[in-house]
């Protein structure tokens, strides 16, 4: 198959060898699990249990609240000991509503809903419904509710399901290991998803630095002549960005502010496909995920199957703790991951990696003046001009940055990574995007308020007019009566 070039990109030190040959191991069930109500993009889930309730493994603890939301299930059996605020796995570390479950050690399952006898006989809506009930979200890190994406086939004509196994982030090997160890499950999940989407074609894209995963997936795809194409894509960060992956495979470029679905392509992560397999074949909700624990400060780097809600501290302890002092603790990959304020936060559905990086690994240096080398322009996969956008933002001219397309930036981090002056470009862009979004919200709010005020004023004026008219009419009537009385 011919591949198409994508613009720019970088070749970071991948450092995947620390965990790529480590088979997935299961974390022993922790005593306490901290399950935030918001582990996905969209509305937070609404709790359906109360403190003191005894729950079984797989039981719904919080239901999806609205069309874009996802339920939260109990990863093991036990008792709800608290529903309150707990630090979020987010740079702010701000408290967020969390259900705390104390495990009873029995790991007793709830009676799961009977799986569909034949998913391929089910309607797309049924499959999407099952995926929604299972609380499955994009496990690549975006955490968008997968059922919403599976329903796209009902609105748009789709032709391709693209399974994203690029895993272009350095360090991370969780998808690599899932593909190598559970290839058949991923393939089955992909076929079910394709059926729901109504797509004829399934492509599984894997970067060429994962030959074993490519071989395992090719072998699994060949069973039963599924027609699934396993395609090796060049090792080029950010190949795993969905728009860029679609471009590399189809040559088609997703228009700005549109979805790849508008081109007929829906992209799902490989681990998401495996979760769909579990949900449809066994009725099992999403209770755990594979997390890569790595970085120079970790004693034993591992790929761990972690129950959702496990405190990061516990996961790190399972990997032997720290050998050196970590400079940064990252949730996700080093390019696009989030820095964590402490280890006292839970693993959630979107946690693909926990990295403890040493100062040598982060290679942070003092910022120097920009020398306009233009490398950021050359490597920007979105065709933007980071050097100029940064200059605008530094002078607080956000409109200028917006004109240059800062809102089109996907925050892949390539420009910051390559900058010889160590300027935190993505930090600027994230700031600008946040401010511009806030301004837009404010503008809309002001408009709404203005509209309401105007409508109110109009209404008041109308009432006043009606009152004046009534008064005038009454006065005229009174005068008429008076006149009549006088004449009488």
């Amino acid at each position: 198959m011919t591949l198409f070039p994508i613009r720019g990109g970088i070749h970071p030190d991948y450092r995947k060898e620390q965990t790529s040959e480590k088979a997935i191991v299961a974390l022993p069930m922790p005593h306490f699990l901290y399950l935030p109500l918001q582990q996905h993009i969209g509305a937070p889930a609404a709790p359906v249990v109360a403190v003191g309730d005894v729950v079984a493994k797989g039981q719904v603890l919080a239901r999806a609240d609205g069309p874009v939301s996802a339920p939260v299930h109990a990863p093991t059996s036990g008792r709800i000991v608290e529903i309150g605020d707990s630090p979020a796995p987010h740079p702010s570390g701000l408290p967020q509503p969390t259900i705390v479950l104390e495990a009873d050690g029995e790991d007793r399952w709830i009676d799961l809903a009977a799986p569909l006898a034949d998913p391929f006989a089910a309607t797309p809506a049924e499959i999407a419904g099952r995926v929604a009930e299972a609380g499955i979200v994009g496990l690549g890190g975006a955490t968008f509710p997968s059922s919403v994406k599976l329903r796209l086939g009902q609105q748009t004509k789709l032709d391709t399901l693209l399974l994203n196994g690029a895993e272009c982030e350095p360090y991370l090997t969780c998808d690599d290991r899932v593909m190598r160890e559970y290839a058949a499950e991923v393939v089955d999940g992909a076929r079910i998803m394709a059926h729901a989407l109504g797509t004829q074609r399934i492509i599984i894209a894997i970067e060429d630095n994962k030959p074993q995963a490519q071989a395992a997936m090719t072998e699994a795809a060949a069973v039963g002549h599924t027609g699934i194409e396993v395609i090796g894509v060049p090792v080029q960060y950010p190949m795993g960005s969905e728009r860029h992956l679609v471009q590399a495979l189809t040559g088609r470029e997703t228009p700005a502010r549109r979805l790849t679905a508008d081109l007929g392509v829906v992209v799902h992560n490989v681990a998401t496909a495996r979760a769909v397999h579990h949900a449809l074949r066994f009725g099992r909700p999403l209770l755990s995920r594979v997390v890569t624990v790595s970085g120079g400060a970790v004693a034993e780097a591992k790929n761990v199957d972690v129950p959702l809600g496990t405190k990061v501290a516990e996961l790190v302890a399972f990997c032997g703790g720290f050998t050196g002092e970590p400079k940064r603790i990252i949730s996700g990959g080093p390019m696009m991951g989030q820095p964590l304020p402490s280890l006292d936060v839970p693993v959630v559905k979107g946690t693909s990696g926990i990295l403890a990086l040493t100062a040598a690994e982060t290679n942070e240096q003092a910022r120097q003046p920009c020398i306009r080398c233009g490398t950021c322009v050359t490597i920007c996969p979105c065709g933007l001009v980071p050097v100029e956008m940064a200059a605008f933002i530094r002078n607080d001219k956000l409109d200028g940055a917006a004109r240059l397309g800062v809102m089109d930036c996907v925050s892949c981090g390539s420009c910051s990574y390559i900058c010889p002056s160590h300027i935190p470009l993505v930090h600027y862009f994230n700031y600008a995007k946040g401010m511009l979004n806030a301004q837009e919200r404010d503008r809309r709010k002001t408009e709404t308020v203005k509209r309401l005020v105007e409508t109110h004023a109009e209404r008041v004026e109308k009432i006043a007019q009606a009152r004046r008219a009534a008064a005038a009419a009454a006065k005229a009537q009174a005068e008429l009566n008076k006149a009549n009385g006088a004449s009488a």
Binding site: R258, R328, P334, P341, Q368, I371, G374, V385, P420, H422
Partner: protein
């Protein structure tokens, strides 16, 4: 344990730094510089040392006056590079005050008055050279024929001190010479056609190797080319600017030489004479003063090539590279404003692309 959460990612970084970039450029200049030191002897060593030392000293002075920290900037290598490139563009036997005055123009006027590293619109070394050329035309066009360090009759250490600091050339009589470009221009003004005056010049092979009269660093085209290729290989520079500069000079020279060989010198001569290679690989590729996009660099390079050819051919000065670079420096913001890459998912005008079914 203190975990940092002060900024967004990435939390890994390429082994790049301003120092590394500058050091590689300096490294690329070493072979040509060593050859030129041998070629022009002690006076050239003094001139080179004075230029670099003045530039670094002035950088330190400016930073102190501006109240900026010294270490990060002084160690980034940019002042050394400016001094080095300025020295490369000066006559090898220039008296001491020429490189000193040039350093003031380059570091104080062109660089720090505009805000220091990264803020200067004009290439500091070229501002230094052009300001000197206009202010002191005589010492700036007094070329010497090569006096290799090891050759008999070359000035010794003390003679050289007299040349650099004493301002006289002692017993050395056969020093003055014209650069190839200067010679052609003079002869042309006397009515001698190019085709005839060319025969009195060292042949092209000598120009490639560099044993000819000219600025300190511009004579050895071959070693400059080697340095340039090194920078290309290490991806410090891209091919766009040098190819555009040299390609334009080659095309213009060849074309007009074919039209009137008596009036116009050939393309290959343009390529190998003067500061073409030094300018194309080391001066025009200066990050700060050139466009940031590859397409912009092509436009910029063609502009430099064209202006250099025009100045060499029609203007009063025999060499036009420095003027051409400065003129195009002035256009860099304009080029950057108008030539931008196409954003992903958008047309060149910035409108979102359309997909099939949009035209409903």
């Amino acid at each position: 344990m203190s975990i940092l959460i002060d900024k967004s990612g990435p939390f890994t970084h390429a082994r790049t730094s301003v120092q590394r970039t500058m050091t590689l450029v300096l490294l690329a200049l070493v072979p040509a510089t060593l050859f030129d030191v041998w070629l022009f002897g002690w006076p050239a060593i003094f001139m080179f040392a004075i230029t670099v030392a003045s530039c670094v000293a002035l950088e330190a002075a400016c930073l102190t006056i501006a109240g900026k920290p010294l270490t990060p900037t002084l160690t980034d290598g940019s002042a050394v590079l400016t001094g080095w490139l300025l020295a490369m563009s000066l006559p090898p036997w220039a008296p001491w005050w020429i490189p000193m005055a040039g350093s003031v123009f380059a570091i104080v006027l062109a660089k720090h008055l505009f805000g220091g590293l990264g803020q200067n619109p004009f290439n500091p070394a070229m501002v230094g050279r052009v300001a000197l050329l206009i202010s002191f035309p005589l010492p700036m066009t007094s070329w010497v024929v090569p006096h290799p360090l090891t050759a008999a009759g070359s000035p010794g250490f003390f003679d050289s001190l007299m040349i650099t600091f004493g301002g006289h050339l002692g017993h050395l009589d056969t020093v003055s010479a014209a650069s190839a470009l200067g010679y052609i221009k003079t002869e042309l003004s006397r009515g001698v056609p190019v085709s005839q005056s060319m025969t009195h010049l060292p042949d092209l092979m000598d120009m490639v190797i560099g044993s000819r009269a000219g600025s300190f660093g511009e004579t050895s085209a071959l070693l400059i080319l080697a340095g340039g290729l090194f920078l290309l290989a290490r991806r410090i520079i891209s091919w766009h600017t040098p190819v555009a500069v040299m390609g334009t000079l080659l095309v213009m020279g060849t074309l007009f030489n074919a039209i009137d060989p008596a009036r116009f010198t050939g393309g290959l001569f343009h390529l190998l004479s003067g500061a073409t290679f030094l300018g194309a690989f080391f001066i025009a590729t200066d990050y700060v003063t050139s466009p940031v996009t590859k397409q912009g660099q092509l436009v910029y390079g063609v502009g430099i090539g064209l202006l250099t050819w025009i100045i060499r051919t029609f203007a009063g000065y025999p060499e036009g590279m420095a003027f051409a670079v400065l003129l195009m420096n002035a256009l860099t913001p304009l080029i950057d404003h108008h030539i931008r890459p196409r954003s992903f998912g958008r047309t060149r005008k910035g409108e979102p692309l359309t997909v099939k079914g949009d035209d409903r």
